[in-house]
């Protein structure tokens, strides 16, 4: 028998054992749903401990017990969420091993030791969490409290390592080292060589930040639900404050996320230009218009929440007239950012536009315009935060007026730099234009850092115009937090589809081809339905988990009358 005949026989034998089928929804949909919902829970249980430990530290070192209680409440949400993460992870693994056995065998051959480590760390992580939560009231003071806080840090360390390990498997699928080919025997591939692939670290960093954003958004939604369900003013005040903190954390981390995304995109291009082109200019190009729309929703809703929040701050009336200008900048920025440019268009569409680009919109769809728009949106959001922060204080330092003028000048200079390089980008070659985005980002980040420093110094001994009236928020503000949570979750599903979909018909890019009936990568319409379904499953389960938590909880809230007698405590 010839070699080619043997190969054909081998291929046929491989194919017969390569794939299983799942009833009704099919194998791909099963893996899609289990992987996505598992990932959403995983992001939640990794993101929440990060700021649980930060807020606990603020409580310990700042002496404000509210933060300690907030931290404990965050952690309480984790307990059941951990179980859900594990259950969905198990469903995913069973699905992969029965529906994609050849591919799963390939991955396990390379990554088996890391999978054992993963399981061990997950075990350790779970028990660290139990100690962290159940030891909260026991290790409450002095050195014991510091020890407890250390447990929180350890929880984050284990969780991050677990995530890094899992990331290595999926990034290997995207960007296997170039010396690995379809004929490479997987038993000969060194574990670390496979782990340290081109997109591993960018994904790690991107996910760490994204998890913080996600955790903040879900906690915000939880707080908003509890706010709406609250029976006492104290309860309402507590959950209003919790929602604010969750939103603040989510929006702050969101501002940094695009830079990590840029690094990841750059690594993808560097690894394989055709993969990058598929992602940005190929069949996925419309995805970025949807992404722009979602991020515009996030910016607008996040700012809207802040502006409504000013209603509970005495002294904020001074700044209210400015919000309409901020809104105009945000809306214009969102329109520019969402302008399509490099799209696959058919001949009819091209003829309708009169060219490859729309004569007017084409000019706004280029990166010069988009970078300018997004940087101005970030500056605007920061300005919203600044006005909110300063709303109930009047600075008393002698240089307050000068400081405010300097702050204003910094905003003006940053905006001018962003606009200058945005406009100049139209008149220079691409090689020069690429570098301009760095100057724009540096201008915005410098403005954020220096203006914040000045603001902190200026707030020393500031005259209070009255305490923030926590709990004094209209219900629509809480619904805004829900929209934020849904949008963050949907965006996560969308970008997961982008990351996974650019492999197209490869299980492992250019190493192991997907020869199943589901090898084609679906269009965005189908993907959006799957994403919505996953988000719905996740949110329904999270709601159930939180409801369960509420059932077990014995509220320690006290009526407002009693609270005034000295029971200042709000929370649990």
């Amino acid at each position: 028998m010839t070699d080619s005949a043997l190969l054909l026989l081998q291929a046929a034998a491989d194919s017969t054992r390569a794939y299983g089928e799942f009833p009704v929804i099919g194998a791909r949909a099963y893996v899609w749903i289990t992987a996505e919902v598992h990932l959403m829970f995983a992001a939640f249980v990794l993101g929440v401990p990060m700021f649980a430990v930060v807020t606990e530290a603020i409580g310990i070192f700042g002496g404000d017990e509210r933060y300690d209680r907030l931290s404990k409440e965050f952690t309480r949400l984790l307990l059941v969420a951990y179980s859900a993460t594990a259950i969905w992870g198990a469903m995913l693994v069973f699905g992969l091993s029965t529906l994609y056995p050849r591919f799963w065998a390939y991955l396990t051959t390379i990554f088996a030791p890391s999978m054992w480590l993963y399981a061990a760390l997950f075990f350790i992580e779970s028990f660290t969490l139990y100690l962290y939560y159940y030891g909260w009231d026991r290790w409450k003071k002095g050195k014991a409290k510091l020890g407890h806080w250390t447990l929180g840090i350890l929880l984050n360390v284990w969780g991050t390592i677990v995530m890094f390990i899992a990331n290595s498997w999926l990034t290997y699928m995207m960007s296997p080292p170039r010396d690995i080919t379809p004929t490479t025997d997987p038993t000969t591939i060194k574990l670390w060589h496979a782990i340290a692939n081109a997109t591993w670290m960018p994904i790690n960093v991107h996910r760490v930040i994204a998890n913080v954003v996600f955790g903040g958004a879900i906690v915000g939604a939880y707080a908003s639900y509890r706010f709406l369900a609250a029976r006492t003013d104290e309860e309402r005040a507590h959950y209003d404050w919790m929602g604010y903190v969750g939103n603040f954390i989510a929006m702050s981390a969101l501002i940094v996320l695009p830079f990590a995304g840029y690094w990841l995109g750059r690594e993808i291009y560097q690894y394989d230009q055709s993969m990058g082109i598929t992602m940005m200019g190929g069949f996925m190009s419309w995805l970025w218009v949807i992404q722009a729309f979602l991020i515009a929703v996030l910016f607008l809703t996040g700012n809207y929440y802040l502006w409504i929040g000013m209603g509970r701050i005495p002294g904020a009336e001074r700044f209210r007239p400015y919000t309409k200008y901020l809104l105009i900048v945000l809306v214009l920025g969102a329109i520019v950012w969402g302008t399509p440019h490099t799209m696959i268009a058919d001949s009819k569409e091209l003829a309708a536009m009169g060219g490859s680009h729309h004569p007017f919109l084409g000019a706004l769809g280029v990166m010069s315009a988009k970078n300018t728009a997004v940087n101005l949106m970030i500056l605007t959001t920061f300005l919203s935060f600044l006005l909110y922060r300063r709303a109930n204080t009047r600075p008393v330092v002698p240089w307050a007026r000068t400081g405010t003028i300097i702050q204003g000048a910094m905003f003006a200079v940053a905006a001018a730099v962003v606009l200058f390089y945005g406009i100049r980008g139209y008149f220079v070659e691409a090689i020069v234009r690429i570098g301009f985005s760095v100057y724009q980002v540096l201008a915005v980040l410098s403005c954020i850092v220096f203006v914040t420093v000045i603001d902190i110094l200026m707030a020393r001994g500031a005259q209070s115009l009255g305490a923030i009236r926590w709990g004094n928020m209209p219900p629509r503000s809480q619904y805004a937090l829900f929209i934020l949570a849904v949008t963050f979750t949907w965006l996560m599903g969308l970008m997961g589809f982008a990351r996974s979909g650019i492999r197209q018909y490869w299980h492992v890019w250019q190493v192991m081809q997907d020869t199943s009936q589901y090898a084609a990568t679906p269009a965005l319409g189908y993907a959006s339905k799957m994403i919505s379904l996953c988000v719905l499953i996740f949110l329904a389960l999270v709601a159930f988990v939180f409801w369960l938590g509420g059932l077990a909880e014995k509220s320690t809230f006290v009526a407002s009358g009693e609270a005034e007698k000295g029971a200042r405590h709000v929370g649990h």
Binding site: Y225, L228, A229, R266, E267, Y269, Q270, Y271, D272, Q273, S274, I277, T278, G281, G282, F283, W286, V289, I290, F293, L294, T342, M343, I344, A345, S347, L350, A351, G354, G355, S356, H357, E429, A430, I431, I434, G435, P475, Y479, F482, I483, V486, W490, G501, Q504, Y505, D514, A520, T521, P522, A523, L524, G525, A527, S528, K529, I531, S532, L536, L539
Partner: protein
């Protein structure tokens, strides 16, 4: 509380419905798996055009430059009142029919370069099979013109080929540049001039290669081709990573050495 719960559920479902609706309203493009393309003796013009469109937007990679109308003329839209490529192709070169001109553009792209553009197009007959080439010609003819490609134009030697409508890179290997060891043919087939300038031709996106031999020896050039990330020319750090890493797997050893020798001689 039930009213509040209902409102929350409504907001969640409404938000999900809105995003799903928008994603379903935009153009739907699915990335297909490569399929065998069989063009038999009875192939119709419609079949040729359909196959050609897939190659044009997929494995041919044509839209990377022609889709934008910046690096190369946009072939699907009007240019200076002459109509799309099917309408203008017969008027490009005196004495050449539309079909002849289009084939020449794919087989010998430097023979005629449209005014205002650089001769950066790779030799597509070295990257695509004859069936794919003729299917693309039929598709381009159909853009404002008349399709006159028939099965008789397609050599019988290569009846099948791979076509990937959703994109993906062109396959490399033995057929690269037709196995030619002529460095100019290799430079052309690899599309080096899409970014580099060499002997007055090409783009200035990446370092000019006209005197590359004076700053790199043969070993360094070889290493750079095989592993572009191994070194970056000063002043081009921001473009590090743009150069494809696939050239080492696309060309054979003899081609690589011919190219290295050729570039190293550019002192």
């Amino acid at each position: 509380m039930w009213a509040t719960n209902a409102k929350i559920v409504g907001i969640v479902l409404g938000t999900l419905a809105l995003y799903t609706l928008i994603a379903n309203k935009i153009p739907q493009v699915q990335s297909e798996v490569p399929q065998a393309l069989t063009l038999g003796a009875n192939v119709t013009p419609e079949q040729l055009v359909a196959a050609g469109e897939k190659v044009y937007t997929g494995i041919g990679g044509c839209t990377t430059c022609h889709g934008l109308g910046e690096r190369a003329p946009n072939l699907l839209t009007d240019e200076k009142g002459q109509g799309p490529i099917g309408a203008r192709c017969g008027k490009r070169e005196p004495g050449k029919s539309c079909k002849q001109y289009l084939y020449e553009s794919l087989d010998n792209p430097t023979a005629f370069v449209v005014s205002g553009y650089q001769p950066i197009m790779p030799v597509m007959t070295k990257q695509l099979t004859p069936a794919q080439v003729w299917a693309v010609i039929a598709f381009l003819e159909e853009q404002g013109g008349t399709v006159d490609v028939t099965a008789s134009d397609i050599p019988a030697t290569s009846p099948t080929s791979q076509t990937s409508p959703g994109g993906g890179g062109a396959g490399g290997g033995a057929a690269f540049a037709g196995g030619s060891r002529d460095p100019k043919a290799i430079v052309q087939a690899a599309g080096c001039l899409a970014c580099h300038k060499l002997d007055g031709q090409g783009q200035v996106i990446a370092p000019d290669l006209t005197h590359v031999g004076s700053r790199r020896d043969a070993e360094s050039i070889r290493k750079k081709i095989l592993d572009p990330a191994s070194s970056v020319t000063k002043g081009y750090e921001k473009l590090a990573g743009i150069m494809p890493k696939s050239f080492g797997t696309m060309m054979n050893a003899a081609q690589l050495e011919a190219l290295v020798e050729y570039l190293a001689a550019h002192k």
